[in-house]
């Protein structure tokens, strides 16, 4: 190749070439920018806005629930929930150009573990996750919050932030727990009134747009003022018809009863018989809604409305009014009590298997005579029984403002055989909720009006305006005032003279009815040895002010309504009557009950049923002589012993004999007469 001398001019040409290339580069960039900024600028700008803006929800405190007098039952305050932005925390953990190395997650975990009551290891794990948002602890108590803030400040811990959340406090702990229900951590009602009224109670949720950086931290910016939505912080207050004084009394009585009777469950209801307002509603087992998660779900169940049971004898006054209204009987109609009565293939006996001979119908109610009621039931017939039950509102939820209310179960009259007709008259073959039962009794108490029970007295907006007001709603008139008055008279005698004497309060006229029903087993049929003991009544009998129902599910030991439920009724109402200043009726109105004791029959306060005693893994069988099959079954059940009964009535002979030790599962033969 010919070597030509390369001159400065040649080099300058090459330089010029490079110069033009560079100029072309600048032009290319300018054109590219025109495309990126001007032509697709809007779309990219939108993208930039989207990635910095974040919509956050802010809660304001949930509305209060207070009793009829304004006493606070459930209140909400804003508390702080702690979260970590791990990216932010870990970024500052890296050695900066100037600062020394600091293992921020480790320091933070060490300092915060004792305050938050979370293990250091699990905190450290949360702090070192990848991401921008991890809850550490929600709903910090104000005291803990202050400590955490102090720790963050003192140690200059980055990445730890708070969000305000509404926390629910149930000021009276477990009082009326099932009525109030509870609220989940995201401020949504999960049960009870909190669920039913969630849309009213729920704190105003204001959405706010904030700007955040790539690590999710809020960019301090004047445009996003967190105070702008402050005006909406107050929401409506719900006033209940519940009277917290009464509620306190029944809660106390329920606690006491549960301890004494060891029942599986219980419900107590107090209602204003003239308006249908619920004054107190209690259920056992119970829970503390502040920590509802620590209790089994069964304790959240409101037994006053959400369970159904066979009412048993407390249903008799209702059937009685059917007979009175239909003109089939009067209080003085003579009834022959034979002790037991055969209907088709079934024999229905009195509770004590004894007959009282010829009595008046009012005695049938007074002494809860099954045979007399069966005779009335047969006269009524299936169609009328069910029609009347429907008129009384059975078989259909009452429509109270509480969630998960049961309908109950009624027979279709077409499917009722004679024994079904007969047993319905004594409160079997029908399933009701305690609230339905009490409401029907209220119709007797108030002169015949079937009311829609309600528990919300009023809902008041922040500005004082009443949004909603609960009031008396008559569903229908079921019976005439005369029939109601007759039945009230009979029910008064139940307490003053008959089977409900344990409910008597000195100086007050009380109407009531006891009931002991066999419990329906989950698999159908009756659960042996399991009873539901109830008492229902109202006071004063002539001018009813309070109607009350007590229901104990499967009490251990004594199980008759008169033994276990009526005393609760008595003790509770006694306190309430005194507290409410309801004067006793005049002395002369008080019946002299000794004179009215059933002739020839002493009111046996039952002697306590002997208990099984354990000995070397075996059971010592007591002497059961004189007890009936029901009581014996309950005792034997505890030791998983099986009763083989012969005959009916009271036990007089048993194998093995009293005092013998037997293995669990052994068959015990007992003869009754």
């Amino acid at each position: 190749m010919k070597k030509e001398k390369f001159t400065l001019g040649d080099s300058r040409n090459r330089l010029a070439l490079l110069g033009y290339l560079i100029l072309a580069g600048f032009l290319l960039v300018a054109v590219r920018l025109l495309w990126v900024q001007v032509i697709s600028g809007t779309e990219l700008g939108q993208r930039a806005v989207t990635q910095v803006t974040e919509k956050i929800k802010r809660h304001t405190p949930r509305g209060r629930i207070v009793d009829r007098n304004g006493e606070e039952l459930a209140v909400s305050i804003m508390v702080h929930s702690l979260y970590v932005n791990p990216d932010e925390m870990n970024k500052s953990a890296k050695p900066g150009k100037t600062g020394e190395f600091r293992d921020v997650p480790r320091i933070a975990a060490q300092k915060l573990a004792p305050v938050l009551n979370i293990s250091e290891a699990s905190l450290y794990e949360d702090f070192t996750l990848k991401g921008q948002f991890v809850w550490i602890k929600r709903m910090l108590e104000p005291r803990d919050y202050q400590q955490v803030v102090a720790i963050i400040k003192e140690n200059k811990l980055p990445g730890l932030h708070f969000i305000s959340e509404s926390k629910r406090y149930y000021t009276k702990k477990s009082m009326a727990a099932q009525v109030l229900g509870f609220v989940g951590t995201d401020d949504s009602g999960l049960s009870g009134l909190e669920l039913a009224l969630d849309s009213i109670l729920k704190g105003a949720e204001t959405r706010q747009t904030i700007k955040t950086d790539a690590m999710g931290r809020v960019i301090a910016d004047k445009n996003t003022d967190p105070e702008e939505t402050k005006e909406k912080t107050m929401v409506a207050t719900v006033y209940l018809t519940i009277d917290s004084k009464m509620q306190f009394v029944i809660e106390d009585a329920l606690d006491d009863a549960m301890k004494r009777t060891n029942s599986a469950g219980a419900a107590v209801l107090i209602m204003d018989p003239h308006t249908g307002a619920i004054l107190a509603m209690g259920s056992r087992p119970t829970f503390d809604p502040n920590h509802f998660g620590e209790y089994p779900a069964a304790s959240w169940l409101n037994r006053a409305i959400s369970i159904i049971y066979e009412p048993g004898s407390v249903f008799k006054p209702i059937v009685g009014t059917m007979g009175l209204s239909e003109g089939l009987i009067t209080p003085d109609t003579p009834v022959n009590d034979t002790g037991s009565i055969r209907i088709a293939d079934r024999v229905i006996s009195n509770w004590d298997d004894t007959g009282m001979g010829l009595v008046k119908f009012e005695d049938v109610i007074k002494f809860s005579i099954n045979t007399g009621m069966v005779q009335l039931g047969m006269k009524l017939g299936a169609q009328k029984e069910i029609d009347w039950a429907k008129k009384y509102g059975f078989g259909k939820a009452t429509g109270i403002e509480l969630p998960s209310e049961e309908d109950g179960i009624l027979y279709d009259p077409k499917n009722m055989y004679e024994p079904d007709i007969a047993t319905l008259a004594i409160g079997q073959g029908i399933a009701v909720t305690p609230l339905q039962e009490l409401r029907a009794i209220c119709a007797i108490a108030n002169g015949g009006e079937l009311l829609k029970p309600y528990i919300i007295d009023r809902i008041v907006a922040p500005n004082g305006e009443v949004i909603r007001r609960g009031s008396k709603q008559v569903v229908r008139n079921v019976i005439t005032p005369e029939v109601a008055a007759q039945m009230r008279g009979m029910m008064e005698k139940v307490v003053s003279e008959g089977g409900g004497k344990t409910a008597r309060i000195q100086g007050y006229r009380i109407a009531g009815k006891t009931g002991t029903a066999q419990k329906i087993a989950d698999e159908g049929g009756y659960a042996p040895g399991k009873y539901i003991a109830s008492f229902v009544g109202f006071v004063p009998a002539d001018k009813p002010q309070y109607a009350m129902l007590v229901m104990l599910d499967t009490p251990k030991g004594a199980f008759y309504g008169s033994q276990v439920s009526a005393p609760i009724f008595r003790d509770t109402l006694q306190q309430i009557l005194v507290a409410k200043g309801i004067q006793p009726s005049s002395r002369e109105g008080l019946p002299s009950f000794e004179a009215h004791v059933k002739p020839g029959q002493q009111e046996k306060l039952p002697k306590p049923v002997p208990e099984l005693k354990e000995k070397d893994g075996k059971w010592v069988v007591p002497d059961f002589a004189g007890f009936d099959a029901r009581a014996i079954t309950a005792v034997l059940e505890k030791g998983q012993l099986v009763l083989e009964p012969y005959g009916s009535g009271k036990a007089y002979k048993q194998i093995p004999a009293g005092g013998a030790a037997v293995e669990p599962g052994t068959k015990i033969e007992i003869w009754f007469r």
Partner: protein, 399 residues
């Protein structure tokens, strides 16, 4: 006109770009600075400090130093040795940031030896190749000793590659190739370079992960949260600026969305906050600066000075255009800074030094021109000279 000669143009634009750089570096860095050091002015203060030192360097090299003193063979050896030493030291005692050793920290200040290597390449090439160009010697990439400087630059590039920093290594090597191109390598070798470049490119694309990166360069939105994140964020920032930009300081890119927001991608933040209008203004500034630099190069007769100015121009303007192309997605992401706009201490000092050299060459050329005019007029070369030119032979160089 704001300036009467290219030198004044350079000084004017240098000050203007530094002011823009200051403002933009602060806006782009205050969030990061606050998070890293607790002081949002951290990078601004440092930028101003480096700029002050840079001005001193510029003044010293431009107005107090004769570039010819840097063109001696002895200085050539010293530069090569010092640069190799610094690069080796970086590999030895440098601090690892994001997986590579690029900086040596001395008393709170960082030194990026690879930036110095770029200036070293210019100085070495000018000194060595300028000498050969002046003497009319053949320059080849293949024949020793004429490829000596190239071999040394390959050593630089190799050491930088080990950091690892492939982008800068490529730039150092390409800068040297550019110098050889200007020094007159045969056209055949240029085509070789072209072929080898294409071959390396093709080979590189054999690897699937490189193909994936290549595809992401073409369309970063395909993986905007992964490999294409930086590019996608850069385009988002630029695009959101629109025609006139967002209010100063309100661009969102710097809030940890755009990585390297105040360094390599500072231009994206500038585009976001000043819009297309601002970006065009900045490009025009660079074009004017480039024109001034080319103007000086084209009028420099001293071969070494010529190569020095040309090399500095390629270094300053070439990197700038490459940075803008990278930030806007025209080129794949390679770590080149934008003159005065990107934050970088060593880079700023190196840039000011290079500009100082250009001014030095310019002043020297002016002096030569005056001298030649005086000689032509039969006057002594300088006013205080006692010499008199007896023969005005134009072909004879005075020095």
């Amino acid at each position: 006109m704001l300036w009467e000669n290219p030198k004044d143009a350079i000084i004017t634009l240098m000050i203007l770009l530094m002011v823009i750089g200051c403002v933009n570096v602060f806006s782009a860095s205050f969030v990061t600075a606050e998070a890293m050091t607790g002081n949002q002015y951290h990078f601004l203060v440092r930028y101003l400090g480096y700029a002050a030192v840079g001005c001193l360097v510029f003044w010293l090299t431009g107005f107090r130093l004769n570039y010819k003193r840097l063109m001696s063979p002895r200085f050539y050896t010293v530069i090569a040795a010092v640069t190799v030493l610094l690069l080796a030291a970086t590999l030895g005692i440098g601090t690892v940031v994001n997986g590579s050793r690029r900086w040596i920290y001395i008393g709170g200040f960082s030194l990026q030896a690879s930036e110095i290597a770029k200036v070293s390449v210019i100085l070495m090439a000018s000194s060595y190749l300028g000498d050969r160009l002046q003497r009319g010697l053949h320059v080849s990439l293949l024949g020793y000793p004429s490829n000596q400087a190239l071999l040394i630059s390959m050593l630089f590039a190799g050491l930088i590659f080990l950091q690892p920093d492939m982008g800068t290594a490529t730039i150092v090597f390409a800068l040297m190739l550019g110098m050889y191109f200007l020094a007159g390598i045969p056209l055949r070798q240029i085509s070789y370079i072209g072929f080898i470049g294409i071959a390396i490119g093709a080979l590189a694309l054999m690897a699937p992960y490189r193909r994936a990166r290549f595809a992401l360069w073409l369309d970063p939105w395909k993986d905007a949260q992964g490999g294409g994140y930086q590019m996608a964020q850069s385009l988002t920032a630029i695009g959101s600026g629109g025609l006139t930009g967002l209010p100063w300081g309100q661009g969102s890119g710097k809030f940890f969305f755009l990585p390297e927001a105040h360094t390599d991608f500072a231009f994206a933040i500038f585009c976001q906050e000043w819009g297309y209008v601002g970006a065009l203004f900045l490009i025009i500034c660079f074009v004017i600066l480039a024109r001034a630099l080319f103007c000086i190069a084209m009028n420099t007769k001293d071969r070494k000075g010529y190569l020095l100015v040309s090399g500095s121009t390629l270094f300053l303007i070439g990197q700038s255009v490459a940075n803008m192309a990278m930030v806007t997605g025209v080129l794949p992401v390679i770590g080149v800074p934008l003159l005065f706009i990107s934050y970088g201490g060593t880079s700023l000092l190196a840039n000011m030094f290079a500009l100082g050299l250009v001014v030095s060459v310019y002043r020297s050329e002016c002096a030569r021109e005056i001298m030649e005019e005086r000689i032509a007029a039969g006057l002594p070369p300088t006013e205080d000279s006692r010499l008199r030119v007896v023969s005005a032979n134009r072909n004879r160089r005075p020095f």
